[in-house]
């Protein structure tokens, strides 16, 4: 690790720390319907949305009504995205003349679920599949609204903790509209202009053929990239305009755009932790969650950075530098860009999987085994470290419920969290969410490791589902495990060597995304409804304080314990086995110096 690399990670964290409070206050005011500095220009737009949508924002909903509104909106979104993809040949802004041929029904199904669930898993390569119209009117829209719906659910859960003896948890349409109009639109507009000033393209011209200096022909792509890039990060969506995602210079041209994209990923999730504390009437509660997330974030970032900087011993033996010097980055540069180097790439990989973003500025598949273990573990713990817009806070609150439950068992008291009694119903719902996610990851990964379809047939043309991996040995299992962890966690990043554009993978990954979004989150809305109805208990000497280091430690312990018990066997067969293989004497002697 270099001094400069460490400085980039530390400064990044400090900026997130400084932004958490002002952003949290802003979010809190927006979702309570209070005036903010953005109300003068945007209040009319908000009112217009309610009028055209035909809803009354003041009408409070029970958790079931809130959930049904969310499901109805997701269903409508799914139909829109599916239809626009399949009909792209008949729609405007299609200079490359793509049609239904590029988008098979199973791919369209997968992509529609993917963008509606805020996963943005991409089984396709954007530049050779979708017209500009699909990218704008189907995918960019979902970048906004699936993120807004995610924030809405978090806000509803926060209300569950904050309200007392209330039957309702807010209005879905109001939360959705406020998140879009006051948070994501202004942030994306600013972000898009900044990104473009640094070199991200924003044009509707078709690809431009040029003759290179050496006389070959190169296509310079066009497209409305900056407008999608900004919301891709701010909404923790992660679906790139191009196949290479944020590694593509037209999506992420400079180290500064890289930094800003990473800040966009974390700023709203970090703000939500402060908003949580503010809403439950004790900001220390929010900071405790922030602290637990920070510890795990920094541990992951430095662990990943260390192993990536250490590099690949087999390449070192061939005479490739692994030590960083003033003139070159050293380390494992396969799959990484020179402008970002090792530190920025390791940081981005950690950030994008801590949050459920899934944008990548380097190819995780080519990380060293333990460097790649960090993003994988982040996915498996449910992306609770800041998390996607809303998803991380929800996941972390779920672990907080488990943590106080475990603590309650140890001392023999009914557990409480921020003044709410945690009873059988809440713990049961929390377990449903956790088990559904774990089962989705493990069962699908196991099936895809062993199923054998006939080759050249519909379900999986390569034949056995394990034949779709790009790398031999334990890394192949890592690719499959990563895919289902990413889909279930609604992340969308990949160990991208896996050929996932076959009907089997498109459908099962689509199901995993569905489970991760709805089977994981609906129980949380149930918890919100149940908690909102409860009284607030007075703090007594017997109450476990949930704002101190003891609770932070307990919370981190719970996250690690659950993840370790569930996933350690799978991890030891994948990345851990691969690590020992990489550093074994056998592998080293097989390479000629």
């Amino acid at each position: 690790m270099t001094f400069n690399g460490v400085a980039q990670i530390v400064v990044y964290f400090l900026i997130v720390l400084v932004l958490a409070k002002p952003v949290g206050i802003f979010l809190s005011r927006v979702f309570n319907g209070h005036r903010t500095f953005l109300h003068p220009p945007l209040r009319r737009l908000e009112a217009l949305c309610y009028r055209l949508g035909g809803v009354d924002p003041e009408q409070e909903q029970r958790w079931t009504q809130y959930a049904v509104s969310l499901l109805a909106f997701s269903a409508a979104s799914f139909l829109f995205v599916y239809a626009i993809q399949r009909l792209q040949g008949f729609l405007p802004l299609n200079p490359q003349h793509f049609g239904a041929k590029q988008v098979s029904p199973d791919l369209a199904f997968n992509t529609a679920i993917s963008f509606v669930t805020n996963t943005n898993w991409q089984a396709y390569a954007g530049e050779t599949t979708f017209s500009y119209f699909v990218q704008m009117a189907a995918l960019t829209v979902q970048n906004f609204v699936s993120a807004a719906a995610g924030v809405a659910m978090s806000v509803a859960l926060i209300r569950g903790f904050a309200r007392r003896e209330s039957k309702t948890i807010g209005n879905f349409w109001a939360d959705l509209t406020r998140a879009t109009v006051y948070v994501f639109l202004p942030l994306s507009l600013l972000g898009a202009l900044f990104l473009c000033s640094q070199g991200v393209i924003q044009t509707l011209r078709p690809n431009l053929p040029v003759r290179t200096l050496q006389g070959a022909t190169q296509m310079i792509p066009g497209g409305p990239v900056a407008s999608q890039e900004a919301i891709k990060e701010a909404g923790t969506n992660g679906g790139g305009f191009f196949n290479a995602n944020s590694a593509h210079p037209f999506e992420n041209p400079t180290p500064l755009t890289d930094y800003v994209e990473m800040l966009f990923i974390f700023v709203i999730p970090a703000g939500l932790t402060y908003m949580f504390g503010r809403e439950v009437g004790d900001t220390r509660q929010g900071w405790a969650l922030f602290a637990a997330m920070s510890v795990m974030f920094l541990a992951g970032a430095f662990f990943c950075y260390h192993f990536e900087q250490r590099g690949n011993p087999l390449l070192a033996r061939m005479g490739i530098a692994t030590q960083a010097t003033a003139g070159q980055p050293g380390g494992n540069m396969e799959g990484k860009e020179v402008r970002f180097g090792i530190a920025d790439s390791a940081l981005f990989a950690t950030v994008t999987t801590d949050a459920s973003c899934g944008a990548v500025n380097s190819m995780h598949d080519s990380f060293t085994p333990l460097g790649g273990l960090v993003p994988l573990v982040n996915l498996l713990t449910g992306e609770v470290i800041f998390g996607g817009v809303g998803a991380g806070l929800k996941g972390m609150l779920l672990f907080a419920i488990l943590a106080v439950f475990i603590a309650g068992l140890m001392v023999g008291r009914t557990p409480e969290y921020v003044g709410k009694k945690i009873e059988q119903k809440e713990v049961k719902l929390a377990m449903v969410a956790l088990i559904a996610a774990a089962a989705s990851i493990l069962v699908f990964s196991a099936l895809s490791s062993v199923l054998r379809f006939p080759a050249q047939k519909y379900w999986n043309p390569p034949g056995p589902t394990s034949a779709n991996v790009a790398n031999p040995g334990p890394h192949g299992l890592s690719e499959i495990l990563y895919a289902y962890a990413s889909a279930t966690g609604n992340n969308g990043s990949a160990f991208a060597g896996l050929n996932a554009d076959t009907p089997w993978y498109n459908l099962t990954l689509g199901l995993a995304m569905f489970i991760g979004r709805f089977i994981f989150l609906l129980p949380l809305l149930g918890i919100a409804g149940s908690l909102a109805a409860k009284k607030r208990l007075a703090v007594t000497s017997g109450t476990l304080p949930t704002h101190g280091p003891l609770f932070v430690g307990l919370l981190i312990g719970t996250v690690i314990l659950v993840a370790a018990l569930t996933f350690f066997p799978a991890l030891s067969l994948g990345p851990i086995a691969e690590h020992y293989l990489l550093f074994s004497r056998h592998a080293l002697t097989a390479v000629k110096p």
């Binding site: 980039q8 509104s69 409508a76 393209i201 900056a226 490739i320 380390g331 080519s366």
Partner: protein, 203 residues
């Protein structure tokens, strides 16, 4: 129905607002304020567009600085972006690097010591426009010899072309290969020293 009607109305509304109005407003503003960047940071030489300063391109002749290996299409294809996705233990990666190392040593006999990490590894996008300063210096003797230029002036040119870390601490120092090769042509103004063997290597 009570829920589906507003769902479809909101969907249509947000499609217009965030899917059509927002990207078109951004397109208009970007084309107005940052026309060069919005269009792809195109580089012109000898009166024509020769590429983008953000996208690498293939250079193979001894008289050019070479970029990193590319896994994008047949090499530096911006509409087939992507990395190799080779894992650290993949034999395909090892043999690719082994071959590249042998070729690099053969073509750059003046260079000793470990080869800069970026030069023989493929980037994530397959379009990396940059190489590290060390990777440029490593190729300087070959380029100077092929062009009949003094080594010192080639090294000096590299020094001028290094882009430092942004804001002093972000990212890594780098040299843009296309601009470096263009600047080389100015350095080699005499027509006698024009490179005669430029081949397009099919990789």
């Amino acid at each position: 129905m009570r829920y589906l009607a507003p769902a479809f109305r909101f969907m249509l509304l947000f499609t217009v607002l965030t899917g059509i109005i927002y990207p078109l407003v951004v397109t208009g503003l970007c084309q107005w304020w940052f026309p060069r960047q919005a269009d792809g940071s195109l580089v012109r030489a000898k009166g024509r567009v020769v590429g983008s300063s953000l996208l690498g391109q293939t250079f193979t002749g001894a008289a050019y600085f070479h970029p990193r290996p590319s896994a994008a299409g047949n090499g530096y294809d911006p509409v087939a972006s992507g990395g190799s996705n080779f894992s650290a233990t993949n034999p395909a990666l090892l043999s690719r690097v082994q071959t590249a190392v042998a070729r690099f040593r053969r073509n750059n006999p003046a260079f000793r010591g470990p080869i800069p990490a970026d030069l023989l590894t493929a980037s994530g996008s397959g379009l990396d426009p940059d190489i590290s300063p060390a990777a440029a210096y490593a190729q300087a003797p070959r380029v100077a010899q092929a062009r009949g230029l003094p080594l010192a002036s080639v090294r000096q040119l590299i020094g001028q072309m290094i882009q430092p870390r942004q804001l002093g601490f972000l990212g890594e120092p780098r040299v843009e290969v296309l601009r470096l090769n263009l600047a080389l042509a100015h350095l080699a103004r005499a027509p006698a020293s024009r490179p005669s063997t430029i081949t397009t290597d099919p990789r």
